[in-house]
């Protein structure tokens, strides 16, 4: 057994402070395990949101030594224990209590994106036919577990709090999954530019770095959407060609 000191943020929306806790941990333990020990033995009122402990529910998002991570997927062996380990709630969202934040703004953002609108079925029995390559492209985006770590790390939301002008990486991934879907007929490009602020992303790729599902958010979702916006709004030559192209049915 080894020992580590944790500086855990304790408080609520009105304010708070870091409190030190010392706990023992064993080989193979993750940060959430140790926090549960602290909760059981030292701080019974410590608020933590968690569920699956398998990196699939996206509930235990927090910042460990300043990096947005899932607490259930961060092994103690990957952290330096010669100095206190800082655990704080996600900084982009309003705090409810201790490590629990109010992420409901994300669900409002998501509702503002136009829903999936498939083309009519390809066969009489109501089936659609899709090429594997086209399916695979959008399949990556469906791995998202909505942990909102990408929203947390995005400086447009984190530092500038532009939640009402920019939907953030999670929702750009969601929009990309719909917009690039081989069956979808809806056009979201104008919304992405005007309502959802895709232009505010300056491609620092922080969202890609923190994604626990390893979705290549910036290169595969955001930049292709920016290119579609460029097609429609900033490229006169492409715009000219589009006049002669058939529109989505």
């Amino acid at each position: 057994m080894a020992t580590a000191t944790f500086k855990i943020w304790r408080g609520d929306a009105s304010g708070g402070e870091y409190r030190d806790y010392t706990a023992e941990f064993d080989q193979g333990m993750v940060v959430l395990d140790v926090l549960h020990h602290i909760q059981a033995e030292q701080a019974g009122d410590l608020a933590i949101r968690w569920n699956c402990k398998a990196g699939k529910c996206g509930s235990c998002s927090a910042e460990i030594n300043g990096k947005p991570r899932l607490m259930c997927m961060t092994r103690m062996s990957t952290l330096p224990v010669d100095e206190p380990i800082t655990i704080q709630p996600m900084q982009t969202f309003p705090i409810i209590r201790d490590l629990v934040t109010d992420v409901s703004s994300n669900f409002k953002m998501k509702r503002s994106i136009k829903k999936f609108k498939p083309r009519p079925p390809d066969t009489e029995d109501g089936a659609w036919l899709m090429d594997q390559q086209d399916v695979e492209r959008v399949q990556e985006f469906r791995k998202c577990i909505e942990c909102f770590l990408c929203q947390d790390v995005c400086h447009v939301l984190r530092e500038h709090h532009m939640h009402d002008e920019f939907i953030g990486p999670r929702h750009l991934v969601y929009a990309a999954a719909l917009e690039m879907h081989p069956l979808d007929t809806e056009d979201r490009v104008a919304d992405l530019k005007k309502l959802h602020g895709a232009g505010y992303c300056n491609i620092t790729k922080c969202c890609t770095k923190v994604c626990p599902e390893h979705i290549t958010i910036t290169d595969n979702a955001i930049i292709p959407l920016k290119e579609r916006i460029a097609d429609e709004f900033y490229d006169p030559v492409t715009k000219l060609f589009r006049i002669f192209q058939p529109k989505k049915k």
Binding site: E63, N65, G66, K67, P68, P80, E83, Q88, Q91, T92, F93, P94, K108, M109, R111, S112, D131, Q132, Q133, D134, R137, V153, H155, R158, E159, H160, H161, H163, D164, F166, I167, E179, M180, P182, D184, H196, G197, A198, G199, Y200, C201, N202, I203, T204, K205, C206, K209, V210, T218, D219, I223, P224, K226, E227, I229, A230, D231, F233, Y234, D235
Partner: protein
């Protein structure tokens, strides 16, 4: 988002404020030094206007040589109508195009926004300014011109490939031109390969060659070209740095040979 307005009230962090304990400042510092070093060297090399050719070699900073005194020049010596008060160098007519391609490149944008503008300096590190316009408004909305620079960059690959061919012909002291391969030929060839890896992995090219379609499989070449560009795109950062270093080194090599500092060894 009129139908789902989102209001979040949170405090603003100070510049450099972070709970990170790792060396978060190292990467932006290395990028800053790397890009600054290249900008300083390329600007200096462009202003020289001399020692940019040796035998069949032509420095990529000067290719194509539109006006100039070397055997590579398309239209002969520098034109008389050029204002005398303006410094002249064949590189001035060239460098804006590859420079613009890199300046508007998605990879470099993310890199220099961090390293030069601290927007942000690193992930979860406090920023020095409160207002933010991103690429949604002027001036950075002009980054959308990237695809036009891509078209030029593709054209430059053709010029640089022709330069590799020219670099295979050497003039003997008797004035006879004969085939050969020198170390410089290899240097120029590697330059084209690395620039090709960088240019063909461009995000805009990936979009134009098939990414813009919802059914990539129905795009040009049945989606195979899209897959190839995507493959290179995954290594875009690597090719961006290797090609940047090598294009500078190629100019340096040709310059050193021209000045007589390096001896260009012949392989064939």
């Amino acid at each position: 988002m009129p139908d789902a307005e989102v209001r979040v009230s949170l405090p603003q962090r100070h510049f450099g404020e972070t709970a990170r304990t790792d060396l978060w400042w190292l990467q932006p510092l290395v990028v800053f030094l790397g890009l600054s070093g290249f900008i300083v060297y390329s600007t200096w090399a462009a202003f020289q206007g001399a020692h940019y050719t040796y035998q069949g070699y032509l420095s990529p900073f000067y290719s194509p040589e539109i006006f100039g005194n070397s055997r590579h020049s398309w239209f002969g010596p520098w034109p008389l109508w050029w204002p005398g008060w303006l410094p002249y160098s064949p590189a001035f007519l060239i460098l804006w195009a590859p420079g613009g391609f890199r300046l508007t490149c998605y990879y470099y944008r993310g890199a220099y926004y961090k390293s030069f503008w601290a927007a942000p300096l690193s992930c979860t590190v406090g920023k020095p300014f409160k207002k933010y316009r991103g690429e949604a408004k002027l001036p950075l909305i002009l980054q959308n011109v990237h695809r036009y620079f891509l078209y030029l960059a593709l054209l430059f690959l053709v010029f640089l490939s022709i330069d590799v061919y020219h670099a295979m012909w050497f003039e003997t002291p008797e004035g006879v031109v004969q085939f050969g391969i020198g170390v410089g030929t290899i240097v120029l060839l590697i330059n084209v390969i690395l620039l090709g890896g960088y240019t063909f992995g461009c995000h805009s090219l990936r979009h134009l060659i098939g990414g813009k379609k919802d059914c990539v499989s129905k795009s040009f070449g049945g989606g195979k070209p899209y897959d190839c560009v995507s493959c290179l795109n995954r290594k875009h950062m690597l090719f961006a740095w290797m090609s940047l270093f090598w294009v500078g080194f190629t100019d340096f090599y040709v310059r050193m040979c021209s000045m007589g500092v390096f001896t260009d060894w012949r392989i064939i």
